[in-house]
């Protein structure tokens, strides 16, 4: 109980004084996850739309695989990426191991199935609604996808934020591929693991509260930017 209270006060103090180390690792957390999110959306959203509208035989299989991949343990993804990016691995020459780039790669792999799955469901529902009209209007495949993506943007935003949540709180994969190197690949979650391992519970809790605050702030900011609560516009 003492730890939780001292954790809260420590968190407050760290944020108030804009503690340099805190700013650095919080900034890196955001950098890694937001970059991963951007890349993942560029992959997931068109993919989700394509699966929703294209008729192909293996569709049910693809959707089942996608849903299964959502349950992929992040730490296993991290391990596989590690083995591939290690100097003695196939992509070792890229020298990406233990850099933020490796962490971004691991996070992209983890959140793409999640975003694709959620987005696909909404797009599919909208497609059922628009189907007769769009067919009648003779839309091309890309016009179809663009229309569906744009008109379901609210649901797609939710999917993206789900991906963000998954990424910002992830620790296993990025610990393995990043190495938690001080001033290079340390982020909030790996720092929490480190401090906990040192027995510094109050500091770990403080970092935890900062992480929660950050995640909430990002969510609020995106909703505010998108003005999703304004009636009648979406």
């Amino acid at each position: 109980m003492v730890d939780i209270w001292s954790g809260i006060t420590q968190a407050f103090w760290l944020v108030l004084t804009l503690d340099a180390e805190l700013v650095e690792i919080a900034g890196r957390s955001l950098y890694v996850t937001l970059t991963a999110l951007a890349i993942a959306c560029l992959i997931s959203l068109p993919l989700a739309a394509l699966i929703a509208v294209k008729r192909f035989r293996a569709r049910r299989l693809v959707i089942a695989v996608l849903n299964a991949l959502m349950g992929l343990p992040p730490v296993v993804v991290g391990l596989i990426v590690y083995v591939i990016l290690s100097r003695s691995g196939p992509l070792g020459v890229l020298g990406l191991l233990f850099t933020p780039a490796a962490m971004i790669i691991a996070q992209v792999i983890i959140i793409v199935p999640l975003i694709t799955s959620i987005a696909h469901q909404s797009i599919r529902d909208l497609w059922q609604e628009y189907h007769d009209l769009l067919i009648s209007l003779n839309v091309t495949q890309s016009q179809k996808i663009w229309t569906l993506l744009w008109d379901s943007r609210r649901a797609l935003l939710t999917a993206a934020l789900a991906g963000f949540g998954r990424g910002i709180g992830e620790v296993g994969a990025i610990m393995i591929v990043g190495g938690n190197i001080d001033h290079a690949t340390r982020v909030l979650t790996t720092a929490i693991a480190l401090e906990t391992g040192k027995g510094e519970f109050a500091l770990a809790l403080a970092l935890g509260f900062v992480l929660i605050g950050l995640a909430v702030a990002v969510n609020l900011a995106i909703h505010w930017l998108g003005q999703t609560e304004r009636e009648g516009r979406w």
Partner: protein, 270 residues
Amino acid sequence: MRHLFTGAIAAFVMASAAQAADVMRMAVTTSFNNSGLADVLLPEIAKDLDLDVQLLVVGTGQAIKLGEAGDVDAILVHSRSAEEAFVEGGYGSHRTEIMYNDFVFIGPKDDPAGIQDAEAATAAMAAISDAQASFVSRGDDSGTHKKELSLWAETGLDVAGFGGWYNAVGAGMGAALNTASGMPAYIMSDRASWLNFGNKGELALLYAGDPVLFNQYAYLPVNPVMHDHVKNDLALKLEGWLTSDRAKALINNYKINGETLFVFNAKEAE
């Protein structure tokens, strides 16, 4: 919108190029990192050599693996047999001793196994085994873990035959100490990690001093013949510094709560 995008890219590229310093990666053990000595040495290294040493803090087993794979430029570990195998296998160019600290026995304050008055480290361990008192082992193939196992062997006991009182947690020093604190249980720790540990709870330092518990740290650059991409020049530069009088002063003067932790014992590099 496009301007914002190109601006962001430019900033990113500039930020990455901003480090004028040389950068190398070194794998070190959790015991070394938890001692806090790294936080003292690294800034000095940066100042003296304009060298940014990125530390990967892992167990000895993983450190050796990282060196074998060529994912780091040098390693600093404390497990002589593993180090010699490393050099023998051609993965490390050579081995340089830097300093030593010691291992201590930690346990519940009331000392149920009565190790405080033990005559030797092996006697203490025998006492714990006889009493079947809870014991936490690193269990992670680290230098500390290997040391612990060698001591059990010297006591003449077989770890494989131990009952439920022996808990191998497969974790770093801090995490293992956490577990020991929570149980509470006996545990063998390096002195530095213990002094720096923030969650002592019911635990206390019960036995120390047997010379067999001394713990030698050595520095091994990864062999450039094996991996030509490693920054061997920087690794050698760092080695020079670590065996210098400057390092000697910093290491010997490093204290926690007034206690020195490490003893510098490097021979001057030829």
